[in-house]
């Protein structure tokens, strides 16, 4: 019965391994151990949601440090479950693993990861890593950015031009009108891409759409900022639902997750624009002939906004951290330093073409690496636009993600999905999401 038995089984297993269940806040010692970074040696397991770089590059690292690397690529959602199960049961599973931007608050509160301040200086890194603040909670560095993913808007310029739209819209009203034009002219019956399946990708779409309407979903104190019908969050949700119901979005998108909608719809011209998707998609999806039938047609554009002023592009970077159950902390620190080296970061993002790239890697975490990448790509795949957009990118939450983010996100995507599917009204969806915030907010 596969996963059917795995779920209660996992709950039971966690019960068996960590009978106090949470294990939260159990560690009184928050400091990370002193390590010898000159010759760390040993071996480490790296569990991340990215495929491995070429073995030759990993061997270079082993030669430099004596640390052998076992790279395990686990799907993002499965990896989060693995981190929760292993951390709750206080069992080892990796020396380096994923710290998503949205988990910073949660991990800070739970003390599942070593604070990295001892090995990395925030003051030095913050100048080079624009999204570092997403991994800092109360001055504690929970993880180090591995990439510089942020949300961007895209347009299939060929289809828009074909429908008579030659200028990228700057306002939401104009954007909606242009999409209607694509639809009514018959160029594309369902031009707008919104992944409406009840998954994390839908939450991030709402955050970016809220930013386009001129606000944030939560206040700096993590209170609900979307309950008033005049608030950007409310308007954004209503816009998403209306876009689906009015036929701008393909009907099948109601059960389509983010990556699937990009690789099957956008990459094959079935949709013409996405208000929110991920930086790097041009280089890793649309401009790769084997994956796409719209090579050279899709461009990054400034996210249209309610006011017409530029919208902030919200960051959703993946980072890496060291779980408290790690066996080789010295090796893990040496590896993170190597992973984030600007020259290596540029390679992961495709500076050397596909040869040394990590598939799906969006943009380097370091500015220096972005500069190397830009000069290598000679302005192709929208790299210039991305560098500009990255400069203006902002965190989704002004003071970092709340520790109860997972619960919040679950409420967001299930209710936005239900509202789009007609199973509840926009008002009811807003109210259900707000209820989760009110239960958890301090």
């Amino acid at each position: 019965m596969g996963l059917a038995l795995v779920v209660p089984g996992l709950v039971l297993l966690v019960a068996a391994c960590g009978s106090s269940g949470s294990g939260s806040n159990s560690s009184s010692n928050n400091s990370a151990p002193a390590v010898n970074l000159k010759h760390p040696g040993g071996s480490i397991t790296v569990a991340v949601a990215y495929p491995s770089p070429p073995p030759a590059l990993l061997q270079q690292f082993t030669k430099q440090t004596g640390v052998k690397v076992r790279w395990v690529n686990v799907g993002w959602d499965d990896l989060q479950s693995k981190i929760v199960a292993a951390s709750t049961a206080h069992s080892y599973f990796a020396d380096v693993t994923d710290v998503d931007w949205s988990k910073t608050g949660e991990y800070y509160k739970l003390h599942w990861f070593y604070p990295l301040n001892r090995y990395f200086a925030i003051s030095t890194l913050s100048g080079q890593m624009p999204q570092l603040s997403s991994f800092v909670d109360n001055g504690q560095l929970v993880g180090i950015p591995m990439d510089a993913s942020f949300m961007v808007s895209t347009m299939n310029t060929k289809q828009f031009t074909h429908a008579g739209v030659t200028k990228a819209p700057t306002t939401i009203a104009q954007y909606t009108a242009d999409l209607q034009k694509l639809k009514s002219s018959g160029v594309n019956p369902h031009p707008l891409n919104i992944p409406l399946q009840a998954q994390e990708g839908l939450s991030t779409y709402w955050y970016e759409t809220t930013a386009a309407f001129g606000g944030h979903v939560l206040t700096a104190q993590h209170k609900a900022a979307f309950t008033s019908p005049s608030s950007p969050g409310y308007k954004a949700l209503a816009w998403i639902v209306h876009a689906y119901k009015s036929g701008l979005v393909p009907p099948g998108n109601i059960n389509m997750a983010d990556v699937a909608s990009l690789t099957s719809n956008m990459a094959h011209g079935m949709t013409a624009s996405s208000l929110s998707e991920y930086s790097g998609d041009l280089a890793t999806i649309y401009d790769i002939p084997s994956n796409s039938s719209v090579v050279g047609q899709v461009k990054y554009v400034s996210t249209p906004t309610a006011s017409g002023a530029p919208a902030p592009n919200l960051g959703n970077p993946d980072g890496v951290g060291i779980p408290r159950t790690a066996h080789n902390v010295a090796g893990a620190v040496a590896f993170i330093k190597w992973l984030d080296k600007p020259s290596n970061q540029a390679l992961w993002a495709g500076a050397n073409g596909g040869k040394d790239a990590i598939t799906g890697f969006p943009l380097p975490a370091q500015k220096n690496a972005t500069a190397i990448l830009a000069s290598s790509l000679h302005g192709k795949s929208g790299i210039g636009d991305l560098s500009q957009l990255l400069r203006d990118s902002q965190p989704v939450f002004q003071n970092g993600a709340p520790p109860w983010y997972s619960q919040f996100s679950n409420a967001v995507y299930t209710n936005v999905h239900a509202a789009a599917a007609g199973q509840e009204s926009v008002k009811a969806a807003i109210s259900a999401i707000a209820q989760v915030v009110n239960q958890n907010a301090p």
Partner: protein, 290 residues
Amino acid sequence: MRSQRQRLAYILLAPLALFIGALTLYPTAVTTVEAFFREYSLVNNHNFVGLKNFHDAFSTPAIRQSFVNTGIYVLSGTVLSVVLGIAFALLLRQRSRWRAPLLALVVLPWALPPVVEALLWSRIYDPTFGPLNGVLKSIGLISHNQVWLGSNRWEALVLIELVQVWQTTPLCVLLILAALQLIPSELYEAGAVDGASAWHGFRYITLPLLRPGITIAMVAAITASLNIFDQPYILTGDASASASVGVQTYLVSFQNLNFGEGYALSLIMTLATAAISLLVLRLVYRRVEF
């Protein structure tokens, strides 16, 4: 001599008993206890809270809905799997050269991992490229592509259940076929001499004598349906309209980090599985002797 044999039997059974004890009984006992304690990972306390976790779980509309959904999956899944199981078993009882390949074909869905099956069916239901739309259009039942999952709750429940039945039926077929082959042919011959029709033979000989096999098949189908997870999770994601209790238990525990509620839900499902299985045993099972 006898006591020595008994001792040997206990010694041989001991590793298995230890294994079961460590992996089943101990976690179940811990879960039972922890269900009554505060176990929200973000809150630093571990106090006895009585029935609070159960109360909180049932206060959540999505969880209440998941119980209704699971009830629907159990009812429809059990009835359909067992009825189809009897039908296929009767067909496969006939001796023919097609029996072996047919049996292999029927068993195939059961042999595949549920995740693979759910992924396979997600392709079949795909609104753009899925063959279901193509077939229905070609026979004129629909005029344009339909979105099968996500837009209508009842449609999603039916289609998810269809996948579940597709997977559970082969096990029911095997269990019922095994019971069917135990029925002596003389009983049918005697019935025929007394003028019993095929229907009478099925109604008064086959069905009563199949009760042990049907009971086991029902228990297997009930257990599978009560714990359904892969199919709703893969076909409709975390959407609460079609989520089962298994999906909600996963979300509550591993996403919301509320293990107290997760333990409570797991305990409810364990008790429900045991209670319903016992009820079925009591109502359906009859000892049969030939």
